[in-house]
């Protein structure tokens, strides 16, 4: 219940933050959220900055560049960057502190949870795969790379079909399906 309340509150807030275009409102909201998230503050601020840095810089610098040719509104930069940062920060904070699977409907939650666990497993295998092949290379080469890509796609397609069946049997044995 708690997770659901927080999640809907969060949804309302992010919509509100995109509806109100007052810099002071957004700035005050950010400060309030900083205070509320106090124990995670340092971690979240680093993570959010790192996450928004690339695109925010591109947009801001291009906008300034545009200012050389026509009249621009400098307060836009504050509004835009503040909003992007605020939305990113609150999303990291809320989504890491609620159990998202309690919020989603049962079937969707099961699907997302299973997908997540498979994605996580595949991701680790993927990283291992490239480490393994590159441990046999003297240096990078495109022919080797394409060969490895083929082997990798075969391996993961096989894993997809195989794991799918295994999980389905596991779920059956736990009585997930009605039939």
């Amino acid at each position: 219940m708690r997770d659901r309340v927080y999640f809907y509150l969060y949804l309302c807030l992010i919509i509100l933050f995109t509806l109100i275009h007052n810099i002071y409102f957004l700035a005050i909201s950010l400060v309030i959220i900083f205070i509320l998230s106090r124990s995670d503050f340092r971690y979240l601020i680093k993570k959010s900055l790192f996450s928004v840095l690339f695109f925010s810089l591109i947009v801001s610098l291009s906008y300034l560049l545009m200012g050389l040719f026509k009249e621009i509104d400098y307060s836009f930069l504050a509004l835009f960057n503040l909003r992007v940062f605020l939305l990113t920060y609150i999303s990291f904070w809320v989504l890491e502190n609620i159990n998202i699977f309690k919020v989603l409907p049962k079937n969707v939650a099961a699907l997302v949870a299973l997908s997540f666990s498979q994605i996580y497993q595949f991701r680790n295998s993927f990283l291992d795969f490239w480490m393994g092949v590159s441990s046999r290379w003297s240096r990078f080469g495109y022919i080797k790379w394409i060969k490895s890509l083929k082997a990798m796609s075969f391996y993961f397609l096989n894993k997809t079909l195989h794991n799918g069946q295994e999980i389905s049997m596991g779920m059956k044995s736990r009585g997930f399906f009605d039939d």
Partner: protein, 214 residues
């Protein structure tokens, strides 16, 4: 190529959410999400994720990511590919914290829906003429149509969401976004097309069982 939060106005992202929810509803009927398919969809989304993780090393130490959607759509058909890829986007947004929450609907439309369906139909229409070309163009078109859609969505922001000529969200017009986004994607699309040809051919030859079923 996910659009982050804060770039898009509610007047755009809310209808996009509605549209992707509608597509999900149709997809759930088409691929019977309620049945035992659920475990297969999960592993398929993991496969889609792995395809998206493939990075092409470029000279100079940089790299470009493939989308892998075309390959997925050609092997499994557009609906399965759409569902798998959008599951990846959902997991990335909700759990990994990558890609925006408000923009999730737009990202699903651009990457999962447009990517899957355009690739699939390009292949279907052209395969009788020349299969290799059909696969290549499926890869190229899939990437580029997704990019055009994103360029369009970003580019209309200053028109539909500004006050007295001052932008509120993404500030550049369609001409700028199209140029900035399309030129690199036309090039990346070439690699995507080539990789799609190589991998599709290879898997078709070595995974006969799967391709015979369809």
């Amino acid at each position: 190529m996910h659009i982050p939060d804060g770039f898009i106005s509610p007047i755009t992202y809310i209808p996009a959410y509605a549209a992707s929810a509608g597509l999900w509803y149709i997809a759930s009927k088409k691929v019977e999400i309620d049945s035992q398919n659920i475990s297969f969809l999960a592993t398929l989304s993991a496969l889609s994720f792995v395809f998206m993780m493939i990075a092409i090393p470029l000279p100079g130490g940089t790299s470009a990511h493939l989308s892998g959607i075309s390959l997925l759509a050609l092997i499994f058909g557009p609906w399965l590919s759409f569902v798998a890829a959008s599951l990846v986007l959902v997991v990335e947004a909700l759990i990994f914290g990558e890609g925006g929450i408000t923009t999730l609907g737009i990202n699903i439309l651009a990457i999962a829906f447009i990517g899957s369906f355009s690739s699939y139909y390009v292949y279907k229409v052209l395969k009788k003429r020349n299969e290799t070309l059909a696969i290549f163009l499926a890869g190229w078109v899939g990437v580029n149509l997704s990019a055009i859609f994103i360029a369009f969505i970003l580019g209309i922001q200053p028109i539909i969401a500004s006050i007295e000529g001052k932008p509120l969200f993404f500030p550049f017009d369609i001409k700028t976004t199209t140029l900035a986004i399309m030129i690199p994607h036309m090039l990346i699309g070439l690699v995507e097309g080539a990789v799609t040809v190589i991998l599709y051919r290879f898997l078709k030859k070595n995974f006969k069982v799967m391709f015979d079923e369809r």
